[in-house]
Amino acid sequence: MSTRNFVKDAFVILGSESHPSTSSSLLGGLRAHDRHAWNRLVELYGPLIYSWCRGRGLQSADAADVVQEVFRSVARGVQDFRPAPTGSFRGWLWTIARNRILDFFRRRQREPNALGGERVAEIPERLEDSEQGSSAAGNLVRRALAMIRPDFSETTWQAFWRVVMEDQPTKDVARDLAMTVNALYIAKSRILRRLREALGEDCLE
């Protein structure tokens, strides 16, 4: 089985409601050396980290290499990762990614004549920028949404989608779906919680 399919299957198994998975929390799974959790981590955050690298001037092949280095560091460090009260998992990943990107540029500066780059590489000025708010980050949460979608019934999902994603008035949504407004908020809470778990942001365990 190819890696790609393997990753996909992993979602299916974890996603089905018949398997109330012990490691629905990404962080829990990673700490438990859960192979599926690792795949989900890579599938979720890989494109984001890659975009961080590309957005800071790395060529695509270099970005792919740096992504590997970031995940190597994550594999080594995730056991010890304890979110600070104000910190987040994504912030932690960003710190690692930033350091690996810096390493990359330092290496480049030492090798000015490497084939494929005539110019002396410069460390981009914007390296210190926050990683928040980019389109890549927006797509991250959407990938996570797609992952958790099978965990919920159609009506619950509808309620969440219309109230949270589309900011529609709760009264209208409740009427259309024949739910109470109370139930809407419960649906919203459950899905947001599940989403945080999937993103590794469930720091309140």
Binding site: S2, T3, R4, N5, F6, V7, R35, W38, N39, V42, E43, G46, P47, Y50, S51, Q59, S60, A63, A64, V67, Q68, R72, A75, A114, L115, G116, E118, Q132, S135, A136, A137, G138, N139, V141, A146, E154, T155, W157, Q158, V164, M165, E166, D167, D176, T180, V181, N182, A183, Y185, I186, K188, S189, R190, L192, R193, L195, R196, D202, L204, E205
Partner: protein, 1083 residues
């Protein structure tokens, strides 16, 4: 058992955003389920401050990086990391240091391709630096492949040509096959273009010419490259810094074929090659190609160099293969016809139509590459830090930036003088950035920065011209760009003359009688005033002020009446929505504003930080701030910035008197009555319920009683007033009575309306007596209903119709999708399907009636219904979150989809691949109207409305925004339609429909007649008529030439919810009454 006590506020807040752990969350949920108090807290303010929720609400946007092949590769490789960390796959430079391969010591990995990794290496004995390509093991598993590969390499090794990378050795060591090549400094053209952007024509042609020479040599030796692409052309430099192009990887392409045939194209984790440059015949029969396939691929490579992207960039690999067979890519911008001819001939679909040989191409390209490439040293020495150290000499002076095509003479005024640009070539555009004029030559794709600097020696000013990226910098008095022998543009700097007080010229045309009193103008006079304001910021503004305001009495009384006590009143007074009076507001510095009609202004002078206005009657006023109001465009000009203001011209326009004012009153039989009236007068000053309009008709006074009418409505648009009077008697005799004032911009009507017992009470004031009203009974012809109507099980909310009307797809609020077949007048139900999904957002049926698209709330994917069986399935192609507006292009090959966040994209009907995006409707959270999209008949133009409440017109080919209609109130629902010719649009507004001229962006006539909100609008096939559906249970057909109602279609028993027009002009409508109806085409 739920707890009865409400949770603490902080816990409830955490619950709201899903930040409780699982046990706590369920505990709170059990309480919230039934608690009315908690729900009000949850509904409270600040509910969605949460960062995650904010991120979710962000419009989904394209992350182009994440779509790159390397990103996919990175993810697949990283997934294998925890176990695969130590495998050979992750060979790093550090590992390589210790590695040797046969006679070579590998120093560092410098590249990785589908064929294998490339290392910088040194010959262990000769100490010569070389490049070693280690072929991926799976490339050479078959012994026959090895033989063939060796034969090819041997042949390639014999080639010794300045434009082919020399292969010096091919060997096998430790079971690994590798190639040894000469070591070159430089980079391949793919990376080069990625860094540099598209190349100039000369440079691109030179590079391709060199590659063609190299390939000519290979072809002469019977070798076909088969994989010509930018990354296989390597750019290095000779001893003089002149760029040299060398062809890489000759003979290796055979390995590709070998693997592809055996393993298929997508091996697990395998980074697949691209079909960006593949010749049409090569895609069909890869082994049978000859040298002409290389010509095609080299053509695609030339395209890439010129355009900065491959010919069919952005499509899926399968689409690219197809496109190479069928399509011609858009011409790269700014390339001359001669070069395009060469490009097209290289990329001809049929090998026979291409050039005969690479040699021919090299020859043809010589003249375009004739300009010797700029010495490489220029590029190398280009100091990147220059951009950071950009002088800010004028940064503070020119504060605005605009890009516009330069045409004629343009002046930028600065305190030091004027930049003057003189051109009649539309290929130039300019913008101003931080004190530098950026001049863009779109023809030659070059950009020049013009800036004036002061020489240190004599203090004189001189124009400095720089070309970014090309280190051209010169100081000059005048700068000229030539096209051939013709001067295309001339730019220079005109030093400001020594302090000359610019006289404030005025050309007043006071209309005063001998006693100095203003002569009242004819009431239908319109004054047009041009006002030119030059500010010290260098902005020259020329405004055309159209003064519609009736002016009565003397100037002094007028001025007195206009002095208001607050700025707010000033703007209230300006009535910007009604054409607006052209007036200057003068801040008297005391909180008082003086409003002066522009045509009364004789001169404006700036004196000692005070502004002095001299009026036509000799009055002088002083103030600090000048404001102008022209329509909605309100500006304030601070005195400190105003250099001069000149009243350039005044022109009084008197419209021709309306020909033979008449009034026609027609009532269809049996109450037929036809009056032709010569003149009449509306006199009543206070008109209310039960009161009478007094009209003088042919000397006879008529007083129709308002209470005789069901409904009286008054509306205005663009100087036209409509008074709609609906006679009683129910819908059998329904129709509109209308008093229409043809063009009285200056007639002052004010009105107030209130609903009392279902009657609209009106008070109409008029201080003007005028002629030219027409009163007409509208809507006498009602086309008969064709055929029978079809019954649904619930309210019809969506409808889509094939072009010929033979297939009609409907959706009802009980979640059922219906397919009807219409045979002229008879509906037949083909199938109905209950959808599992609670809500349908959008529906589309392609014009040929073969493909459906469904957008469902809460799903990222579109769905489709099988038109044979009614089976609904998810389309895996073309994800689009929150989509709602959906429509197929007239040729059925593309579709438009719009989402709630403002995103609009044009997609391929088969693959769902995004072809174009139309940004602009993006808006933040808030009430988002359902987006709508429509095509013109030729598919060239599209009209969209979306989250930002505007309506925009676009070119579908290049995604250029052509026009934008003003934003409408967010609380109102509007419906749009685009005329078949794409030049007009209909936008509904409450019960009316406004016609917009999309060429000018101006609104035209409005269509009034519906008694309730309009719910849909559409054009007839020839664009001569339009049809609207309304909650008043009718559809109405409008003559777009006259703006008159042609017919009212009555029959629906409840709100009409949707409509469609077939290619033969029949109208299909659906309603809350659960029926679907078809109506005859209007004559």
């Amino acid at each position: 058992m739920p707890t009865l006590t409400c949770p603490r506020a902080d816990r409830l807040l955490a619950f709201r955003t899903g930040q409780l752990n699982r046990r706590d969350l369920e505990e709170v949920a059990a309480h919230v389920e039934t608690c009315a108090v908690c729900v009000t807290v949850l509904e409270g303010e600040g509910a969605d401050q949460d960062a995650l929720v904010q991120e979710l609400r962000q419009a989904p946007s394209r992350d182009e990086f994440a779509e790159e092949t390397d990103c996919r590769r990175a993810v697949v490789q990283a997934a294998a990391l925890p176990e695969g960390d130590d495998t050979a796959d992750g060979r790093t430079p550090a590992d390589a240091e210790a590695t040797s391969l046969g006679k070579y010591q590998l120093l560092e990995k410098i590249g990785q391709g589908g064929m294998g990794a490339v290392f910088k290496a040194v010959h262990t004995l000769l100490k010569r630096t070389v490049a070693v390509k280690v072929l991926a093991p799976h490339r050479l598993t078959d012994p026959r492949a090895v033989t063939r590969f060796r034969r090819e390499i041997e042949a390639a090794g014999r080639l010794d040509h300045p434009h082919i990378v020399r292969t010096s050795d091919a060997d096998e060591a430790d079971g690994q096959h590798f190639l040894v090549m000469e070591w070159l400094g430089g980079q391949d053209l793919y990376k080069y273009v990625c860094e540099q952007g598209p190349l100039s024509t000369a440079r691109a042609c030179d590079f391709i010419r060199q590659a063609a020479l190299g390939l000519q040599c290979a072809h002469e030796h019977g070798m076909v490259h088969r994989d010509v692409k930018p990354s296989n052309l390597f750019r290095t430099t000779d001893a003089h810094g002149k760029p040299i192009i060398k062809v890489l990887d000759l003979g290796l392409a055979l390995l590709h074929d070998n693997v592809d045939v055996e393993k298929g194209l997508t091996g697990a984790g395998q980074v697949m090659g691209t079909f960006d440059y593949i010749a049409p015949e090569q895609a069909l029969e890869s082994h049978a190609v000859d040298s002409r396939a290389d010509i095609y691929s080299l053509g695609c490579t030339l395209y890439f160099l010129l355009a900065g992207k491959a010919p069919f960039h952005g499509r899926t690999e399968a689409q690219k293969l197809l496109a190479h067979q069928l399509e011609t890519p858009p011409a790269p911008p700014g390339v001359s016809h001669e070069v395009l001819d060469v490009l097209n001939k290289m990329m001809a679909k049929s090998p026979a139509q291409r050039f005969g040989s690479m040699g021919d191409i090299a020859k043809r390209l010589e003249r375009f590459a004739g300009v010797p490439s700029a010495p490489e040293t220029v590029t190398k020495e280009m100091p990147r830090r220059r951009s950071r150290r950009r002088t800010i000499l004028l940064a503070a002076l020119v504060l605005f930036a605009l890009t516009a095509a330069v045409f004629g003479v343009i002046r930028f005024t600065t305190p030091e003088g004027d930049y003057v640009i003189d051109t009649d070539d539309p290929d130039f555009a300019f913008s101003v950035r931080k004190g530098t004029i950026v001049l863009e030559d779109r023809n030659q794709k070059r950009t020049y920065n013009l800036k004036v600097i002061q020489k240190t020696d004599d203090g004189e000013w001189t124009l400095e011209v720089r070309e970014p990226g090309n280190d051209l910098a010169m100081k000059t008095d005048a700068f000229t760009i030539k096209r051939g022998e013709t001067v295309a543009l001339k730019a220079w700097f005109e030093r400001k003359q020594a302090d000359v007080r610019i006289p404030l010229a005025a050309k007043p045309t006071p209309h005063v009688d001998p006693k100095g009193k203003e002569v009242p103008q004819p009431t239908n006079a319109r004054s047009v005033v041009f006002l030119e304001i030059t500010t010290k910021l260098g902005v020259q503004v020329r405004v055309e002020v159209v003064d519609y305001r009736l002016f009565e009495g003397t100037t002094n009384t007028y001025l007195r009446s206009l002095v208001s006590t607050a700025a707010a009143d000033f703007w209230k007074e300006a009535e910007p929505h009604d054409g607006g009076p052209g007036r200057l507001g003068l801040d008297l510095g005391t909180g008082l504003y003086l409003l002066i009609p522009v045509r009364q202004v004789k001169t404006i002078e700036a004196l000692d930080k005070q502004h002095v206005l001299t009026l036509a009657d000799g009055t002088r006023q002083q103030g600090k701030l000048v404001t102008t109001a022209v329509g909605k465009d309100k500006r304030s000009w601070n005195l400190a910035e105003v250099k001069s203001a000149t009243v350039l011209a005044q022109d009084f326009v008197t419209p021709a008197p309306t020909a033979s004012p008449k009034m026609r009153l027609t009532i269809p039989a049996p109450h037929s009555l036809d009056l032709r009236l010569a003149s009449y007068q509306v006199q009543s000053a206070g008109l209310g319920f039960g009161q009478k309009i007094k009209m003088t008709v042919n000397g006879e006074t008529l007083t129709p009683d308002l209470s005789d009418f069901d409904k009286v409505s008054v509306s205005s648009s663009k100087g036209q007033w409509h008074i709609g009077l609906t006679p009683p008697g129910g819908k059998e005799t329904a129709g509109n009575w209308e008093i229409r004032h043809p063009s009285s911009g200056f007639a002052r009507w004010s009105l107030a309306g209130a609903m009392r017992n279902g009657w609209q009470v009106l008070i109409v004031y008029s201080n003007v007596s005028t002629t030219g009203f027409t009163l007409e009974k509208l809507g006498a012809r009602v086309p008969p209903i064709v055929g029978t109507s079809a019954e649904h099980s619930d309210i019809v909310t969506h409808l889509a119709c094939s072009r010929d009307g033979s297939k009609i797809l409907t959706y009802t609020s009980d979640q059922v999708l219906w397919l009807w077949e219409l045979d002229q007048a008879t509906f037949k139900l083909a199938w109905k399907t209950k959808l599992q999904h609670p809500m349908l957002r959008g529906i589309a049926l392609d014009p040929a009636g073969r493909v459906t698209l469904l957008a469902l709330a809460g799903s990222s994917n579109l769905y489709q219904a099988d038109l044979q069986t009614g089976e609904v399935s998810e389309r895996r192609k073309g994800r689009h979150d929150g989509s709602s507006g959906l429509v197929f292009s007239p040729d059925g090959r593309r579709y438009l989809v719009a989402d709630f966040y403002g995103g609009v994209s044009l997609r391929d009907a088969l693959e769902g691949e995004v072809l174009r995006q139309f940004p602009g409707h993006t808006a933040g959270p808030g009430v988002r109207p359902a987006p709508q999209v429509c095509f013109s008949q030729d598919g060239e133009r599209i009209l969209t409305s979306g989250a930002d409440h505007t309506v925009r017109l676009w070119n579908s080919t290049n995604a250029q925004e052509l026009n934008k209609l003003p934003a409408f109130a967010s609380t109102k629902k509007r419906f749009i339609a685009l005329a078949p010719d794409g030049k007009h649009a209909l936008v509904s507004q409450d019960s009316g429909v406004q016609i917009w001229d999309l060429t000018t962006g101006k609104s035209g006539a409005s269509l009034h007649g519906h008694k309730d909100h309009v719910t849909a609008v559409a054009y007839g096939p020839d664009g001569a008529w339009a049809v609207s559906a309304s909650q008043d249970k009718t559809l109405r057909i409008w003559d777009l030439g006259t703006g008159k109602e042609l017919a009212s279609l009555e029959g629906h028993a409840d709100d009409v919810t949707c409509l469609a027009v077939t290619s033969d002009g029949r109208i299909v409508s659906a309603s809350r009454d659960k029926t679907l109806r078809v109506w005859a085409a209007p004559k």
